[in-house]
């Protein structure tokens, strides 16, 4: 029984949060990795693109809520998502047209594009703050839980509860759908294959008649969709605060690099590696340990690292990977 309690406690406090956080990181890292694979630079504005997407969706959600629209147990934000994606796509396409394209045509060094993306980051960040402010915004509605801790305890008779937040479940389901769609698109459609070809060998893609501007445009639209979905899911699961998205930049880049920059499978794997490590290492195992070794009464929290140092975890993994396998777990570069 105690073993079961330990497992449930572990699942409740480590596995579930890590899975939903991992899905959010994976979606974010996919966006970063696609930009890297096709446009060949590290986009530092990605966190703020996510914030913008979430903001656009929140505005749509508020409007729908004001109109009295609701999705029952599901969050209304799902209905507003397409509009949020469209708004974000418009923003990134405009940015590409006004900012990035100039440097692409001049074949500027990637590091210049990274600095340019810093400027875009400032502007997007300012834009988000300008429209919605810096404060925390809550926009989750619908059912809070699929199963609460109390219900679970009554159901199983265990002392530990397993609470499944509906947003966590939603995150995982949406992430799976999005990833499946993405891979279907990249591996099965002509356009998707042409994007992989472009990412693999730009000159040969040109010789094959693949239109680079079209590939770039579709990439931005997909990145906008990925960023918006990641941003909204993160906002639903935790809460929306513009600055939090900027702070996601480090774990997201860590995920993409750990998996191998430019490799979508790697981005997903990296997201989960980072998320699981962060949650496991900063979780206080006192409870779990108490069930497993009843005789042991630990003094502290049995926590390897305080949660304030979760960045240190992504960072340490990143450094280890960079030192021992610089191309990432899944060889990076091509899409």
């Amino acid at each position: 029984m105690d073993l079961l309690n330990a497992i449930v406690a572990f699942a409740n406090f480590v596995v579930l949060p890590a899975v939903s956080y991992g899905s959010q990181l994976a979606l974010g890292a996919l966006g970063v990795t696609m930009i890297y694979g096709i446009l060949r630079f590290s986009n530092f504005a990605h966190g703020d693109t996510m914030a913008f997407g979430a903001m656009a969706t929140i505005l749509g959600t508020w409007w729908l809520q004001a109109m009295g629209v609701s999705l029952g147990p599901f969050p209304t934000a799902l209905l507003a998502l397409p509009a949020g994606i469209a708004g974000t796509a418009a923003l990134v396409l405009l940015t590409d047209r006004l900012v990035y394209r100039f440097y692409r045509e001049r074949k500027s060094a990637p590091v210049i594009l990274v600095i340019v993306s810093m400027g875009v980051m400032f502007v997007t960040n300012g834009l988000v703050r300008f429209v919605i402010g810096v404060d925390e915004q809550r926009f989750a509605d619908g059912a809070r839980f699929i199963i609460t801790a109390r219900e679970f305890k009554e159901l199983t008779g265990l002392r530990e509860g397993l609470a499944i937040k509906s947003t966590a479940m939603l995150t995982v389901v949406v992430a799976i759908i999005v990833v499946a769609l993405l891979f279907w698109f990249l591996n099965r459609t002509r356009t998707g294959k042409s994007m992989r070809a472009f990412s693999d060998n730009e000159d040969l893609a040109l010789l094959s008649g693949i239109n680079p501007e079209r590939v770039v445009m579709i990439t931005w639209i997909m990145v906008a969709a990925l960023a918006t979905i990641a941003g909204v899911l993160y906002g639903l699961d935790k809460s929306f605060k513009p600055f939090n998205y900027f702070q996601l930049l480090l774990p997201i880049f860590a995920s993409a690099i750990v998996g191998g920059l430019g490799n979508p499978v790697g981005a997903i794997a990296g997201g989960f590696v980072i998320a699981f490590s962060e949650v496991t290492i900063t979780y206080a195992f006192k409870k779990v340990a108490g069930y497993l070794i009843p005789a042991w009464e630990p003094q502290g929290l049995v926590q390897l690292l305080s949660t304030d140092y979760k960045f240190a975890v992504s960072f340490a993994i990143l450094i280890v990977v960079l030192l021992f396998r610089p191309t990432g777990l899944f060889r990076g570069k091509a899409l």
Binding site: A197, N201, L204, L207, S208
Partner: protein, 237 residues
Amino acid sequence: MSDPFLIGDSLSGGYGRGVDILHSCTISVNEGEIAVIVGPNGAGKSTAMKAVFGMLDLHEGSVSLGGEDISHLSPQDRVAKGMAFVPQNSNTFTSLTVEENLEMGAFLRRDDISGTMAQVYELFPALREKRRQTAGELSGGQRQQVAVGRALMTQPRVLMLDEPTAGVSPVVMDELFDRIIEVARTGISILMVEQNARQALEIADTGYVMVQGRNAFTDTGEALLADPEVRRSFLGG
């Protein structure tokens, strides 16, 4: 004999604003024939072919294909006109499967490509077996086959090959030359730059020996092989 199918006539130019690499160089190939450009290192062989393909800044001369002047067209537009180019290096999408490589070759086509693909597989049976493998996993010779196959997928009228046998073993080279002859028999003109001058001239209808960006000798492959001066200077006796 009528005008050649593809001709780069008295081409002069270089990369960007740099010095001229080509000096009034003429390269042409007839329908269904094989033309080979040979010469010492740095003679401008590849440059001459790239000039024909529109990858060079020309200030003199013209390129025409099937009687149409295409001097002003970009390489991409020339692909659409029926020219296919196989670069010397990175000529496959290494992370894509063999089949996807071929599909990308046919990217501009809107019609059914399965027929052409079957022809490519017939030409290179090894590729059919490995069509689900990524091109990066193949051997050097098979990767060259993928590269040629990708170019053939556009159903080109002219196939341009930049040193297709660089870095492959002599056996593979002979095999590849046989396939190239087969391709030419289907009516596709072949323009090829080759390091292995003797073998290349053996299969060439026309041979161009280039020296320092200029035409040094131009004749049939056979005649060039027989020419004592060419033999002494370029074929090692």
